[in-house]
Amino acid sequence: MTEPASREAANPSDEPANGAGDTPVPVEEMVLVKRALKGDLSAYDDLVRRYQERIYATIYHMTSNHEDANDLAQEAFIKAFQALRSFKGGSSFYTWVYRIAVNKTLNFLKQRKNKTHMSLDDLDFNAEHDPDLVALISDKTPRREAGLAELQEKLNAAMQKLSEPHRLVVTLHDVQGLSHEEIAKIVDCNAGTVRSRLFYARQQLQAYLSDYLQ
């Protein structure tokens, strides 16, 4: 699956509002890393608590399976602890852990191949009050009888149809809200490739979910 080069420049100003960007390592975070390096597990516990939700969410959106996401997220943090000596502080600890988690997830998905078994998390009750989602299940949509649970299932099924690199980019950008540059660092490619993959993945998703989009 390769995208034409002309798509590279698509949606150039499509940055999320809450992207973390390439921020220098916060001092406090580095202090925690140094303490963890000396064997202070409470410091590492602080680091895990700080990023556990985002790491879990990324893996969950990639696998669409809670149990797999739980195992992989734990393993990613354990691997990060074991490799803490190789962390030089060139990027944020968060980006570094993210890279470990993403690599672990991609390896897992390669092994799992097509044996997808969805085990979806429940929707937060606030979803029913989100104006964007309410609009999607309003009279204007072609399938107005579709409830949020059905939408969730269809959306996850469509995500699973994407190739891993495309699913990863959609997850990191559209769901997690990371910037193109930060995704490029995590995935180890350039920002243009990220934009290109994002455009292609959105096109694919749009085709799969045409019944639920205007």
């Binding site: 698509a10 949606n11 597990l41 590492y44 516990d45 895990v48 608590r49 556990q52 939700e53 879990y56 969950y60 959106h61 809670h66 996401a69 739980n70 997220a73 734990q74 943090f77 354990i78 691997k79 602890f81 074991q82 490799a83 190789s86 390896n107 390669k110 092994q111 979806l120 998390d121 429940d122 929707l123 937060d124 606030n126 979803a127 989100d130 964007d132 989602l133 609009a135 999607l136 949020l148 939408l151 969730q152 959306l155 959609v170 997850t171 559209d174 769901v175 959105r202 998703l205 749009q206 979910l209 639920y212 989009l213 205007q214």
Partner: protein, 172 residues
């Protein structure tokens, strides 16, 4: 293009739904403690953690491991190659024709014939002890004896095999 952008906007709204997917309540309360417990278990030095550390610190090993994980056929081929090397090694080691070497010079001669009397046994043991105490002297003597006994004409080694006979001296 504007149509595409508009459609993507719809899609992005739909993708917002993913942000509302939440793990079971209080799931994250125990998450870090589970990670720390597993880290502690790893620190006690079980084999898996050590292997993992070695793999992580050697990137080329990590790449090989990743290749094996991704392509099981590669792992199978590698295993087959290792087995083939092992079997070849075993076969060649069996073919090597090593002559047994008498570690104690004179010992072979002393036990070549049946010893009838306790006196003969005692003499043989004394000779062996001398050879053990001063192996160089024993080696020198046996070497000069062997060289003088070499035939001047004809084959150097007589490879004829004599049938072995085992006679146990009776009480009378």
């Amino acid at each position: 293009m504007s149509q595409d952008t508009e459609n993507f906007e719809q899609l992005r709204r739909l993708l917002k739904l993913k942000r509302y997917e939440q793990p079971p309540p209080r799931y994250f309360n125990d998450f870090s403690s589970q990670v720390i417990a597993r880290v502690k278990r790893g620190e006690r030095g079980d084999g898996y953690a050590s292997v993992g550390r070695v793999l992580w610190e050697a990137p080329w090993l990590q790449r090989i491991w990743a290749a094996f994980e991704a392509k099981p056929i590669l792992a199978g081929a590698f295993g087959l190659a290792v087995c083939a090397t092992l079997i070849t090694g075993v076969i060649y080691s069996e073919r090597t024709d090593l002559q047994p070497v008498a570690l104690i010079p004179g010992a072979e001669a002393s036990i070549s014939g049946p010893m009838d009397s306790p006196m003969e046994i005692a003499t043989a043991m004394a000779e062996n002890r001398t050879a053990l105490i001063n192996p160089a002297a024993g080696l020198e003597g046996s070497l000069s004896n062997s060289l003088s006994a070499l035939p001047t004409d004809g084959p150097l080694f007589d490879l004829r095999a004599d049938p072995a006979s085992l006679t146990i001296p009776g009480p009378n």
